[in-house]
Symmetry: C2
Subunit: 226 residues, 2 copies
Amino acid sequence: MTIKPQRNKADQGETSKERILASAESVFAEWGFDGASVRRISEEAGVPVALINYHFGSKAGLYRAIFEKRAPAIMDQRIAGLRLARAEPDLDRRIDLVVKALIYPMFSLRGESPSADFGRMIVREMSDPQSEARGIFRDMFDPVAEMLTDAISKCFPDWTLEEVHWAYHTMLGAMMIVMTDNGRMARLSGGRVSSDNWEEAARHMCAILVAGLKYRDRDQTRGSED
Amino acid sequence: MTIKPQRNKADQGETSKERILASAESVFAEWGFDGASVRRISEEAGVPVALINYHFGSKAGLYRAIFEKRAPAIMDQRIAGLRLARAEPDLDRRIDLVVKALIYPMFSLRGESPSADFGRMIVREMSDPQSEARGIFRDMFDPVAEMLTDAISKCFPDWTLEEVHWAYHTMLGAMMIVMTDNGRMARLSGGRVSSDNWEEAARHMCAILVAGLKYRDRDQTRGSED
DNA sequence: GTCTATAGCTGGATAGAC
DNA sequence: GTCTATCCAGCTATAGAC
């Protein structure tokens, strides 16, 4: 066991590598991959530019490192949520747990320290065609996404594959907008509703989505495709 | 001996201004505002860079011009849809029309010529904190958004303002993901479901969202915040 | 209106001292 | 590991001929 060198108060115990990651997260979230410059990140972190390339190889390497640092915690929470859902035999109650397994781990980001920014990074990555080349979703998010679609289809055994995947993507999309809201909700509501309260956000969204899945075929005849 | 460059067949009577707008739409959609370069746009349009600044003043001017060209048609369709909804006295049927007034005009974009790209541009603009400075949403989208939230609240007279705005944003988010899907849906479904068929996309999404709004309070006691 | 040429910057990345 | 200094490719925008 090695003992970490104790830093003084000014450092707040952070290594320069950690400071770079922290400021990169906020700069990438605000400016996007292309709009962000390593110079700006280095300034915000209070380190020279060269140090970024020393630690992370390149701008792209730094970008990926942020996802590698943040994604596992979210995936683990989703997997844990799915384990709870699987243990619920009543399918009506189970879908509720599945939806929450998807939504809550993402929203809880907004609670902790700097990481509403990471939520914004995810949305930008998701809406960027170049993301396919980076392969971040393929590598870090797809495995759990498959577990989730699988869990949905087990809750609705009579659904087609189309219905399952559209349900999943509808939920994913709804989630995106909260991670990305730039005060538009506040503007449209005359300042009376804001998206900052993530617990309320999650509650409202889960209510709509769970009901949407459970009752989607209630009022209309089932689609007759294929 | 030099012959005045005659428009070739490929031009099909398009002015250079129109060609710039068309290629800008696809380049901005693929690379984002910062990632796109006016050089790349000019190459794709087959015009010299200077012409872009002549016609549109700046890169930002060109960007905005695309929204000014495309947004009105969508807004008009939404307004028309809302007019139909207002004429429907049965509130259960009316909310169905309101949701469709929001969703369908956006999805119908994917039907016509080059404009899945415009859908992608909207999503990127929506997930970009810098968009507030550009003011595109404020100027071109917010007025109709207010009409829509208003229509929702008329369908559910007992809802709080929070519930209305969360419902609207949930729908908006769900829509975003279809406009932006980069083949991830196809990947996750093993190639068996794709988001290319916009009619099916709209159908699935509306089914979930309408049911979500109508039945969101069916299984749980109403939130007690006020 | 359309073009060539270029000004004036800012970008990512690296070399090499310490 | 950390820093200074620097390379040079790429960017937006404009000047000015036609």
